[in-house]
Symmetry: C2
Amino acid sequence: MIADSAVGSRLRELFAPASIALVGASDTSGWARNVYTSLQAGGFQGRFVPVHPRHETAFGIPTRPSLRELEEPVDLAFILAPTEAVEAVVQDAGAAGIRNAVVLAAGFAEVGEAGRALERQLVETARALGITLLGPNGLGFINATDRVAPYGLLLTPPLLSGAVGIVLQSGALANSVLTFGRNHGIGLTLLVSTGNEAMVTTADVIEHLLEDEATKVIALFLEQIREPQRFAELARRAQSAGKPMVALKVGRSPAGQLAALAHTGAVAGDDAVVDAALRQLGVIRVDSLEELLVTAGLLATSPPLRGRRLGVVTWSGGACDIIADRAHAEGLEVPALERSTTAALEKIVPAFGSARNPVDVTGFGLAHQPDGSRTPIAQALDVVSRDPNVDVVVYLGVLVPPTPDPLVEARLDDAVQLIGASPVPVVNTSTTCVDLSEYARDQLLKRGLYVAAGLDLGLRAIGHAVRWEERRARPVAERSPRTESDAPDWLKRRGRVVWAETEARRLLELSGFPLVPAELALSADEAVEAAHRIGYPVVLKACVEGLAHKSDVGGVKLGLAGDDAVREAFAGLHAIAAAALVTPMRTGGLELFAGVTRDPTFGPVLAAGLGGVWVELLDDVALRVLPVDKTEVVEMLRELRGAPRLFGARGTDAVDLDGLAEALVSLAGAALLAGPGLEALEVNPIWCGGGRIEGLDARLITAEEG
Amino acid sequence: MIADSAVGSRLRELFAPASIALVGASDTSGWARNVYTSLQAGGFQGRFVPVHPRHETAFGIPTRPSLRELEEPVDLAFILAPTEAVEAVVQDAGAAGIRNAVVLAAGFAEVGEAGRALERQLVETARALGITLLGPNGLGFINATDRVAPYGLLLTPPLLSGAVGIVLQSGALANSVLTFGRNHGIGLTLLVSTGNEAMVTTADVIEHLLEDEATKVIALFLEQIREPQRFAELARRAQSAGKPMVALKVGRSPAGQLAALAHTGAVAGDDAVVDAALRQLGVIRVDSLEELLVTAGLLATSPPLRGRRLGVVTWSGGACDIIADRAHAEGLEVPALERSTTAALEKIVPAFGSARNPVDVTGFGLAHQPDGSRTPIAQALDVVSRDPNVDVVVYLGVLVPPTPDPLVEARLDDAVQLIGASPVPVVNTSTTCVDLSEYARDQLLKRGLYVAAGLDLGLRAIGHAVRWEERRARPVAERSPRTESDAPDWLKRRGRVVWAETEARRLLELSGFPLVPAELALSADEAVEAAHRIGYPVVLKACVEGLAHKSDVGGVKLGLAGDDAVREAFAGLHAIAAAALVTPMRTGGLELFAGVTRDPTFGPVLAAGLGGVWVELLDDVALRVLPVDKTEVVEMLRELRGAPRLFGARGTDAVDLDGLAEALVSLAGAALLAGPGLEALEVNPIWCGGGRIEGLDARLITAEEG
């Protein structure tokens, strides 16, 4: 990441150069030709200086032999030098007073230790010289707002400017992204290929895009999340600023994680944690490049979609069917309309169409009216948009043929007026994902009309947008301010320690976790006395450091109903531990488990679920990255497939959900108290019965680096 | 459906007319203009006769006043007459010796009883005159093979011929389907809008497409499955002929079912049954129009994909990541390659790429080689395709720019050669779903190259194709030849009957279902005697006709351990029934449920699942349309989320799967024995314990029409 805190101003400067030197510019270099041609394709109007030690000219322009011999400094040096020569060129740049550089060469941190050393050296040099460096192993950037596109791939023009900022951790996808975007009228502000992120990181670029007024949505292609704390902070800022972040985060599969590893040297954590983290942060996660762009395109152009009830206006019964199914899959509704709405629609829709929601005006509804009046489909839009049962209108009436047609243009003007007058947002979509013609794109863009490409992607995008608003509108619950602190002194120990259960309980008690009563007994007599105080039946457990799985070694004696049983149990445990923990025996009720473990990216993660088949066969576990509050924990519990059991399904007793949520928040708090050395803190089972919540057994493992 | 069995020859004639009369042809009719223009756009070379009672010419061609006044008969009459005039025009057609007609008018069966009567009359007339009638309320057909496109929508040219036959139950989607197909190089043989299917049904068209040699894949947009028995028969024929059927069946959601109802008057059954039925029949079910077409396009052009192991060759690490994730989601593998393969790749792939699967040759791999030799990506394809661990290669190397380039054409020739020489199928795909340019399409089509549009749709299509081949290759298991027969005499009763359990058992015994032993007792003494023969503990159940839910009314007494308990229980039951069934009490073991109910479309459907939370909270039920065999039932049980419980997960006893499957096949057989009056036959619970399978309780309901 950028060393000083002035990320914004440094990146504004980096991404909007008025003059660029291309180091390694030669007519025979494919990379150089790409950068030069892309600058031209993007419409760069500034000064361009080719630099090459041996060639006199490049692309018909006289070269300079080195950055040191420029007549005046340029705003940006785009460095094509081979890996081993990069360092010297950066020094040249520093000497020439250049403050920004893009380094394309690979062969740095992604190839191993030698490369990492080379990269560290490069960053040190750049920092010392006050140079902001993008890359290495990146392809540059494309600033569509200011029309500066120094990029190592051939860009297919035209470059469409708009409101989507894009960060690519795989720069080679730039053309795919630009082409799909352009063909669907999705314009961008800035696209950045971050490469190895030696200095300018994904988070830096996100921060820049958050500050960039032209950017309304941030789209991300992520192989890894390198600065998770900062990423989280930026995601929260994005949410409160109303700038959605949409991410295609790859590495869901084991093979995908290996692919990411081969590609950038990243080590991925568990994808379920990524899923939970992104959801918590309000980052929309998508599954394909198309979904990334169509969703970003909608969010960049639509007013907020507040509500799940769709009014649907189409020209085809088949399209109505598809929309209804897709809406259902997205958790959206297609409600019945008011009688008055249906009555009004019946005057517009032919008998073989449908005046009910979803509305089918039939192909007739698209026909130009001989008297030049509004088309039936546009009339239907007007009627449906005013129905009080509708939060959003899905509209199939914006269709533009590939060749100019003044009648169509008049209809587009009418659509703009209707959409502007609609009390609820109108989302235009098309039946399938096919490209817009150039004429269609121009006509739509100049009117600010967006057509989400195809019913499948269109409805997915609507689902994302609706859920994003819901999450954003959720009352901000109190969030424990505690983040990971230093561990208490008694817990500071080098190496990996499996603590005795008494210590695990001590930590949990510090944060108020409700535990079953327990007494430590060092002899059979003490155990019997403890049992009398506690009341039969009791449980005896071996209590000693280093014992991770008590029951596996016979270290747990359940259901002891009298003194003799306790004495016998104590004797049995003595082979394992000198001390035993005596607790009451709990039966009936419902058992849950919960624990905090550490994800390599996101740090402490809380997992919870029901016991028994739910976790053993169904892998029914909900996750949250810490910190969490009660609202979050309740939401988490509701995600469990077994959640109905908590709410008293089929005549079982409902659990004290409030108490349970409080307990889990305490568990999370205890885990944070343990500091960065925490490896695992688990309470299993958590017993819920007779209106009580009690942790019956606890386990704590730390692994402080030595 | 067509009355006689000569569907094939009648439809061949209908869909390939050499002469067409358009009834209602006038310059002022939008429909007429559409049909005329579409015929032209499609390249119709035959005779075209406009018919109109009042206008002298249409489209500059002299009209005839009526079909009766044609100089010679035409092969097809396309009838645009208003609803009430259609009948007379069909009579004219008959008088003129015309054998085929398309009727576009709506206002028939889809609008209610009066319309249904009108439609019946129309069909009678047509049959009497020997006319094959497509529609009404349909838009016609598009025969791309023979270039005859009499269609009621304006078609955007060009019409691409190919190997995909399409049936649309929503004709308005034709242009969407044609446009998406054309823009992705997916050509068709025939597209038919079936409308109300008064005479020519979806099944008829499927049968025709099965017989049509040019058709390699059948793509369906279905709102309903009207002739399920015949559909099933045709699906089996399609599978054995190696012509995959791909279906977008709408109506998954309640709203979607309503939308379908509004549109065609269809009443849909449970979507889960549709899902099961299509899977059983080997019909590929898709979720979007794009998936329908890209999947059909792949199946129409690719050799069979036999195996789940993908070799992946790309020019982008990001694309590798996406493919790995998508493959995982489809249940496909991206295996490690042989050492020798990797060694060969290392000579081709630059250090910053990846020589492991998925392979990234980087953007460099796409560059033309100065000496005109094979591009690195093509070299990599050659190497990977020969690796023995690979069943299919996914290839991103077929890229065509929008403008002519002889170098690209040479590379395409090379790709054709490599793909032809590859020991395994090669599937070309692209990073995102964007249109092919006209140039690209032409270059690809003339070489027989298909590029599946985008990684998301491309990998979905591969998943479908692989699973289709797996299902097809599955050994054909014995399938009980029994289909629904007449009920045995004792079971023939009018109205709805909830049979006494003894009768349910009698039916189950007929087909060999293993039931718990039971004796009927008419007095307390008899009950006690029975209990002695059976052995304590026993169960007593009220046994009487009309009692659907015994336990709800206290009609079941469990765990009776002695004579007194039995006497008391019998007395208690006496208020409900004069007779009691005495059975042994079973405990421990695992409980399942199974039952056959009737789906309005597919008839008897077998449902089965585990008891307890599995069905109560998880809705964990697997379905199969009857008839079923053991292989099918075992597969069905494996689909259950709780399936691991059956196989002895977590130390529980494994169930006798073979015995259980046999029992379920018997249950299905018993249900079929009951004949078409069966409403429900259930065995719940089925007890699996101590190596035994026993039905503990049974329920039979019939509802014969009176």
